[in-house]
């Protein structure tokens, strides 16, 4: 009895609306299941992409670090640090969003402003230029990676939510509606039988009196 929706009246109208609600819940359940499946597919695609981009980032950074070492060897570590902190290159991150199956995922892009002369040219070596180029490239790859990773993160969140909804419908909402409909149906039938019997009794009484 505890599974029956509270406040249900045992009327024919109620039975009809319960059946309608159950049908709606079942349709929602099917749709959500489909959504969950395609989200998971999307999720695994993104994971494969992460792996690829990861490798790209790793090679880019490796290159960048080796040119950093070269710059340090020619200019001295302290000077390189000095130049790095004084560098006038600017990097701004642009964040916008797009939709994948109703999930808002971020689109990141990095905007790099290279001034004509980012640092004092006579005091620096060409190695410093290569290094800054390499790091700029690595940063681009990293931003791309960040985009995919946060996409995956949001997809995972949405998958979790969808899964919870699917199982809530499956194990609670639909069975409860089913049982309530059954209860209403039984109550109606019982009342019908009572009516039938009452009519019979009345009929007997009337025929006895005659």
């Amino acid at each position: 009895m505890s599974d029956i929706l509270p406040g249900t009246k045992t009327t024919r109208m109620e039975l009809l609306s319960l059946r309608k609600r159950k049908k709606l819940a079942e349709r929602g359940h099917d749709l959500l299941k489909e959504k969950r499946d395609s989200l998971i597919m999307e999720f695994f695609n993104a994971i494969a992409e992460i792996k690829e981009t990861r490798e790209h980032v790793e090679t880019a950074l490796k290159d960048a670090f080796s040119s950093l070492t070269q710059a340090k060897m020619i200019m001295g570590p302290a000077r390189v640090v000095e130049f790095a902190y004084a560098s006038r290159v600017e990097a701004n991150l642009n964040i916008s969003t797009r939709l994948i199956m109703g999930v808002r995922v971020p689109v990141l892009s990095v905007e790099q402003h290279f001034p004509k002369i980012p640092y004092s040219l006579p005091d620096s070596s060409t190695k410093l230029d290569t290094m800054s180029e390499k790091f700029a490239e690595a940063l681009k790859a990293i931003v791309r990676l960040a985009e995919i990773e946060s996409t995956v993160k949001r997809l995972a969140l949405e998958i979790e939510r969808t899964k919870r909804r699917v199982s809530a419908l499956e194990t609670i909402v639909i069975p409860r509606l089913e049982r309530t409909a059954q209860y209403v149906k039984l109550a109606l039938e019982e009342r019908e039988r009572e009516d039938f019997y009452r009519i019979k009794m009345v009929k007997e009484q009337i025929s006895d009196e005659l």
Binding site: F43, S87, V89, N92, H113, A136, I142, L155
Partner: protein, 107 residues
């Protein structure tokens, strides 16, 4: 379009490199406490869009990173330092997969 900042937490070399290309916020923490503190500082900054942290440092505050990674913005990304990757980044991913699919899968 919102312009956001990028921050980097790492060793001296990593920070130097990214400073060179315009990453304006940086920290070179030494102890786990300092790592945590600088991560939180960047994390609380509303104009922060992306936080880069090198893997060896991230390893020391794994739990905090896992916790903060649940938030959509800013994105926290583990990057390899000059010695190459240690594979720490996988912990974040694996946790996500476990949550989403319900089982652990090696990637």
């Amino acid at each position: 379009m919102v312009s956001d900042k990028i921050a980097v937490i790492g060793d001296r070399d990593t920070v130097t490199g990214f400073r060179m290309v315009g990453v304006s916020q940086s920290a070179v923490p030494k102890t786990p406490g300092q790592i945590q503190e600088s991560l939180m500082r960047f994390f609380r900054d509303p104009s922060m869009g992306l936080i880069l942290i090198t893997e060896p440092l991230a390893e020391q505050i794994e739990d905090t990173i896992l916790e903060l990674s649940a938030a959509p913005v800013p994105v926290i990304l583990l990057i390899p330092n000059r010695d190459g990757t240690t594979g720490t980044y996988e912990i974040v991913l694996r946790e996500l997969i476990r949550k989403a699919v319900g089982i652990e899968i090696n990637i």
